[in-house]
Structure formats: C-alpha cells, structure tokens
C-alpha cells in the first residue's frame, strides 16, 4: 500500500505542501483548507507535516455515525460519501494523529485521497522531505509523535525538538 511519509529533518516548514493542496483540491489558496498541515513551531525550529496515513481499521471510519466513510481495500484511501456525510466532525475528533481538520466552509471533511496516486504535495516538496512509497517502517514513530490532543501536541513537539537539537 502506498503511503506518504516524511523525513522531518528535511522539512523546512515552508508550507508549500499546504498551499499546493488547497490550490489543486479547492482551486484557491487557503492553507486552512488543506488536507496536509504543517505544524511549525517558530521558536524551536520544529516543522512537522501532518497527513492521512491510511490506517488499518481507520478510527475516522468507525467513528462516523452515518457510515459516510469507506476505505478502499487496495489503496487504503478513505472516501467520503458526500450524500451521507452531515459534516458533524466526529471523524476529525477520532483521528489519532489530527490529520482531519474540518473546513468551516465545506460540507464534508477534507480527507487526503493521494491525488489519485500522485500526490501534489510530494511532487512540490522543495526540501525533499515528503515521499510516497510502500515502506511503512517509520510509521509507528510518526504516529507516536503526533498522538494526543492538539493542544498538548505542542509540548510533545517541543520536547521532540529539544531532543533533535540538543
């Protein structure tokens, strides 16, 4: 199964991935609508892209009260049935790494579909930090870093950054 992965040491925090995502998916520019988000801590130098990793038995899918989410057997991509989705946001709450952020102006949650197999964020990433591949070896570590509530995450990243730079 193809997944996006990140070499965090190569991420420059430039946010190009967010911008190109909103451009390609929404035809406009607004990083707050992107399917990939970079959490950038100005003061510690930590830059952490957050994106859907197509979990097995995805929590978002299970949390949906209207069975609007389904997962492709082969690609693992989460699909949203726009008819069934009520935009309640329970999928976003359930995502263990915070990869779904509800778009206040859209009716359905923005969930990464890997751009049909050739993700634009990977193609544009100037630092060469984002990759697409089958290697899942870094996945556990990535998930571990991102787990927890969003407001607590920043403390985790700070510790992580200190470990990185110290």
């Amino acid at each position: 199964m193809m997944r996006i992965s990140v070499d965090v040491n190569k991420c420059t925090g430039c946010r190009t991935c967010e911008i190109v995502c909103s451009m390609v998916k929404n035809g406009l520019i607004n990083r707050r609508r992107a399917r990939i988000r970079v959490y950038r801590d100005e003061m510690t130098g930590l830059d952490m892209p957050v994106f859907c990793i197509q979990c097995t038995d995805a929590a978002c899918m299970q949390a949906c009260p209207n069975s609007a989410l389904s997962q492709d057997d082969v690609s693992g991509i989460i699909r949203v049935d726009a008819e069934a989705c009520t935009g309640c946001g329970q999928c976003a709450d359930a995502c263990p790494i915070g990869a779904i952020v509800m778009d206040r102006d859209a009716e359905v949650p923005p969930i990464c579909d890997l751009c049909g197999g050739e993700p634009e964020c990977v193609a544009w990433c100037p630092g060469g930090a984002l990759h697409l591949g089958e290697d899942a070896s870094g996945l556990d570590e990535y998930v571990k870093e991102l787990q927890g509530l969003p407001e607590k995450r920043i403390d985790k990243w700070r510790r992580w950054a200190e470990a990185l730079t110290g």
Binding site: T12, T16, I19, M23, I29, R33, D41, M43, G45, T165
Partner: protein, 654 residues
C-alpha cells in the same frame, strides 16, 4: 473583480481609532502593491522636515498581490516609514510568515499612526481588530515577546515585534518576526517604539481566489523549477562569505583586518564561512513561506564557551563581521546573530558603527575612559558582544552608537566624522563586488545598500557566467557589459526590476534576475504572468518594469523634497574609504571603490541620463515624471525647488 484586496487598515494609536480605507484602484496598475503602495502612502502622508520619531510619521506595512500564494518565495512584506536613522525615505523588506497571514486576513496594507499612551500591541483576527495592553511585554526581547503572545492568542498566529533596541529608540532598530525574520534596515523598529507599539499580531483565514487556476499553477511550477535549477538552493545565506570572496576576487576585508590575505584567502573563509557553519553547527534548514531556497540554517553550538547556543538564519550582516571587525571564530558570530535578533537591532548598521568606534579607538580619538574599559581592538569578539548589548540598552558608549551614522559622529565630535563612511545616513561599507554593484550603493534611495540594485552579473567571473547567466549579454541593455561601461542603463534596469519584485510580494533573493535562475531575461514576463493569472489584472513584463521605475522615481522625489542633492549621492567621508592601507597594498588597482572615485562624475551623469534626470544636479525633470504619470509629483517638487532643468537627454526605454 480583481483578486487583490485594496484594503488599508488604519490604526490611530493616539485616539484608539480603527478604520478601513479603500486604496484607489488606479494605484494597483501604477504601484502594484507592497513597496509600491507603501511608497505612495508615505509620499502622501509625510510633510517634509517631519521628525521621524514624531507620532505623525506613519508605520506602514504592505504586502503584494502575490504575497501568501503558490508563487515561489511569496512570503515577503515591506515596512515603510520616514527613517529616524537617515531622515529620508525608509523601508525594509522582510520574510517569514507574517505577510501571507496578513493576506489571508484580507488587508493589503496596514498603516499605524499616533502614539499610544501606554505600551500596546495590536491584535487582528480577520475583521476583528483590538488594541491591547502590552505592559507585561515591555522590556522583553523579541523571542520572549512572541512566546508570550502565542501563549495568550494561540499558536496559529504571526507576530511582528520590537525588542529592547526599538523600545529604546535606537535609530537603527529593526522589527522581528519569528526567530530571525527581520525588517532590519532604516530604523523602522525605532518608529514602532516611538508609538509605544510593542507588537502587531494577526491571524487570517480568508480564501485567496485565483482568476485562472490552470495558468497560475503552471506558471508557479515553471518559476519553481527555474529557482530550483539556479544555484541558490544548494546554498544558505552564510555562503555569501564564499560567494563574496569569489565575486570580489578575494577582496573581502576592511582596513582593520590585520591579515587580509588570511581572512580573504582560504583560511579565514574556511573558519568563518557558510560551509563551516553547515558542516559543524547546522541542525537543519528552514524556509520562509513557500520558498524552495530555504536560506536559513538552524544552528546549535554543542560545546565550548558558546555551548548551548541555538538560533536561526545568520545573514548578509553576519558574513561581514569577520572581514570588517577581524573576528576569526564562527561561534561568537552566531552569538552576535542571536543578540541582533533578540534585541531587534540592524546587524549591518551596527557592524559599521562598531567599525567606526574601533577606528576612533585605534586613532586615539576615544579611549578606555569613553568605552567604560572596553578594549575596542580588532578581533576582540567579546568587546563586540558588549557593544551590541550597550547599544541596544543605550548604556555606556552604546549611548553614542545608538544615534546612528548621521548623529553619532556629531555627538562625539573630536574629528571622528572622517572615520565614518555612510551614504545618505546609512552604512554598509564599500561594496566588495566589482562592476555596477559599487555605484548601486550610491544611487540607492534608502542609503548604502546592496538590495536596491543587486547589480551583480557584470562582476561574475567568466566561468560562472557560462554556468549561471548564459543569456547575460542579451537580456538587458548595458547589463552584459563588463567593468563599468554602460552601467548606468544596467543599474537603472535592475533598480526598476527589484522595486517591482518587492511590490509584487516576492523575494528578490531567488526572484531577482541579478542572482536568480537561468534564462533571466524572461523573468519580468513570468512574474507578470503570475500576477495576471492570479489577480485577473493583465500585465506584461514591460508594465512591471515601468511600475518599478515609477516606484523608484517616487522614492527619489521623496528624498529630493526632503532637500537631498547631488552631493548626497556619495560616501560621507572619502578619507574613511581611502584609509584602507592593507587593501591598497595587497590589491593595487583592484579596489572597486578606486574605479568609482576615478570616474565618479562621469558615472553618475551617465546614470542620471539613463534615468532621464538632470545630469548635472541629479534632480528629476518634469518631462520624465510626466511620462510616468507623475505630473503632480513634478508640481510638488517645483514648490520645493527640487525639480531639475530639462535635460538634453531623453529617458531611455526599458
């Protein structure tokens, strides 16, 4: 409907008023945005002779139509005010993430006037604008201030703020954003401090619509590839040490350097240059918004007296400390970089102010009695660090340095003026790169500065030209010529182009044709295409250059209205320049400034003629201004007797 919001947010801190004003639509075609809008605004707002620290001096923050978009390196914004350092037109361009956030908040310009009674900061969340108490922030450095504001307002905000230097009205204080993004030059931080304004924080969530998405996306990709294929992405800004050494033919040092051959040759560069920084101290590279270059190294010093030091992005200024003050170790330079960022102090002006102090010390004009025991001897890094602290805090001899290039030598007296070499009140030392780069410092509208012209190609050694500037001979009039011949036209071309790039919201470092990618001659056209496909406002490359020319002329007019004459297009002290014994001995006939002095009058009149100005007085003439739709500017200049005579030369196109 044009996708470029012409909204100016006006905040009057004296009365606590917040108003939204529409910028005339015609201005977008005439001035584009950013530096252009700001120049126009300052021209309209300032009465000549106004004290720059008077509450009436506006602090203007402007972004361009490409700011915050997919256009590569579009994180820039411009801060403009009359300069308390130079008393003329002042502005400084800054990167980071504030500009893009401002774009999403829906403003193209923010103008702050008046003076708050108590320390304040401004908080903006889209339409919501609040002036808040900053009593608890006053006295904090720029890093601490931003931490506090993030704790109070959330992590998803961007902040501009001043440090100790701005609070203390140091005349070359800058404005900081993040760890190291700075609007460093011309003392905008002192203007902010004079308003009792500690910070400006904002969050923006609006969409940026795109007029022709497919064309915009494709053009962004094209420019993105151009930049990636240029030579910049391999390098960080500290590599300017190596680049300068190559472009100047080994000529890096100033008079105080005891062993110029060591410093300019391999050893000094190996010890203090960018490659060493990358190898020994860099943790990772960091970028401003949507920039494929990522010129800022994040560094960590692990051991030794500077162990634990952590910071980001040493830039142009830091690369000048070693060859100017003879500091021979890299770690103290990184420590100084942090101090400049945390105090909010312009590194470039500080370095040459410090050099002036060192020269005065060397020549017995000042002694330990004046410096409070500091030994201002070449290479004394500790003394430099003390001097930075004293300047930001206005203590000891720092009290004098804090007054800047124009005022400090007068304050000290004792004939110290001859050791200060500024242009129009700002210093950058004589340029170390040959060719048109040198005179570009003199014609700059904000004082000595490499970024107005950035006229590098004629100085690039032959083998590099072939690699990086294959079209050099063909893309602009005069720009391909080696040496100084034809430089007037070339200089004009680069000044105009850079002004337009600054107005667009792009960064001139990767996007300027003077340092940028291959196929440079197509660049004005490509940037015009970016703007057209994004905003729906149709522009061509030639329109862009004309906009740049108009902006430059308006800055020139601002300075002429303040009383500047042809005498100001020069270094303040020729003696300071010629007093470079090491250089002259070591590099006979190769000092760029020698070329400049030999031919100064001819060179300047060539430039004035290329610009369509009076070749004798250097003043603008009515016909040229009228051609640029600036007839009313000519009227104004006439009222101040600052209009030139009709010249026999007409303005050349391009």
């Amino acid at each position: 409907m044009m996708n470029w919001p012409l909204h100016c947010l006006r905040v009057n801190l004296t009365h606590g008023d917040v108003t939204l004003e529409e910028i005339p639509e015609s201005y977008s075609r005439m001035y584009l945005g950013g530096q252009g809008f700001n120049t126009r605004r300052l021209w309209e707002s300032v009465t000549p002779g106004l004290d720059a620290l008077n509450p009436d001096n506006p602090l203007i923050i402007g972004i361009g139509p490409l700011s915050g978009t997919l256009a590569p390196s579009s994180g820039r914004f411009t801060v403009t005010a009359k300069s308390p350092q130079t008393d003329i037109f002042g502005d400084s361009n800054c990167g980071g993430f504030f500009g893009p956030e401002m774009r999403c908040a829906g403003y193209s310009q923010i103008m702050i006037t008046g003076r708050s009674e108590k320390p304040a900061y401004i908080f903006i969340d889209d339409d919501r604008v609040e002036i808040r108490d900053a009593g608890h922030l006053w006295g904090l450095d720029t890093w601490e201030t931003q931490e506090q504001i993030r704790a109070a307002c959330g992590v998803d905000i961007q902040t501009l703020c001043i440090g100790t230097a701005g609070e203390n009205l140091v005349r070359f204080a800058g404005i900081l954003s993040g760890l190291s993004s700075a609007a460093g030059r011309t003392g905008t931080g002192a203007v902010m401090g004079s308003k009792n304004l500690k910070a400006l924080t904002l969050r923006g969530s609006r969409d940026i619509p795109v007029a022709r998405p497919d064309e915009f996306l494709a053009t962004c990709r094209e420019v993105f590839e151009d930049i990636r294929n240029g030579f910049l992405p391999d390098w960080c800004t500290p590599n300017l040490m190596e680049i300068n050494a190559a472009l100047s033919g080994g000529l890096l040092t100033r008079g105080g350097v005891r062993d110029a051959a060591w410093m300019s040759g391999g050893s000094g560069i190996v010890k203090t240059g960018g490659e060493r920084l990358i190898r020994d101290f860099m943790v990772k590279r960091r970028a401003c918004f949507n920039c494929p270059v990522a010129c800022k190294p994040v560094y960590r010093v692990r051991e030794g007296p500077y162990g634990g030091l952590y910071g980001e992005g040493p830039d142009w200024g830091i690369t000048m400390i070693a060859p100017t003050l003879d500091v021979r170790e890299l770690e103290p330079l990184l420590s100084m970089n942090n101090l400049f960022n945390r105090y909010g102090l312009d590194s470039i002006s500080f370095i040459f102010m410090a050099e002036w102090a060192f020269r005065c010390f060397e020549n017995g004009i000042i002694s330990e009695r004046d410096t409070g025991g500091l030994q201002l001897e070449w290479g004394n890094a500790e003394a430099v660090i003390h001097l930075i602290r004293q300047t930001a805090q206005k203590e000891g001899f720092g009290r004098i340095l804090a007054e800047g290039e124009r005022r400090a030598p007068k304050l000290l007296g004792r004939g110290s003026e001859v050791y200060m070499d500024h242009i129009k009140g700002m210093s950058e030392g004589p340029p170390r790169i040959k060719g048109g780069h040198a005179p570009g410092y003199i014609t700059s509208t904000r004082g000595a500065d490499h970024l107005r012209a950035l006229f590098v190609p004629p100085a690039v050694p032959g083998d590099l030209v072939e690699k990086y500037f294959p079209d050099l001979e063909t893309f602009g009039p005069g720009t391909g010529e080696r040496g100084l011949e034809g430089w007037g036209r070339g200089l004009k071309y680069f000044e105009n182009f850079n002004a337009a790039v600054n107005a667009s919201g792009l960064c001139i470092f990767p996007n300027s044709i003077s340092v940028g990618p291959r196929n440079l001659k197509d660049f004005p056209e490509k940037i015009a295409r970016l703007i057209s496909s994004l905003t729906g406002m149709e522009l061509e490359g030639s329109d862009l250059l004309r906009i740049g020319e108009r902006i430059y002329n308006l800055q020139k007019a601002f300075n002429a209205r303040e009383g500047l004459t042809v005498q100001d297009d020069d270094y303040s002290s020729a003696k300071a320049l010629q007093d470079l014994p090491h250089m002259a001995k070591q590099y006979p006939g190769r000092v760029p400034i020698d070329e400049y002095y030999r031919d100064r009058e001819a060179l300047l009149s060539e430039y004035y003629m290329a610009r369509g100005w009076d070749p004798e007085t250097g003043l603008q003439i009515r016909e040229t201004l009228a051609e640029l739709d600036l007839e009313e500017v000519a009227d104004e200049l006439e009222r101040y007797s600052a209009l030139g005579k009709r010249s026999h030369v007409t303005r050349e196109g391009g």
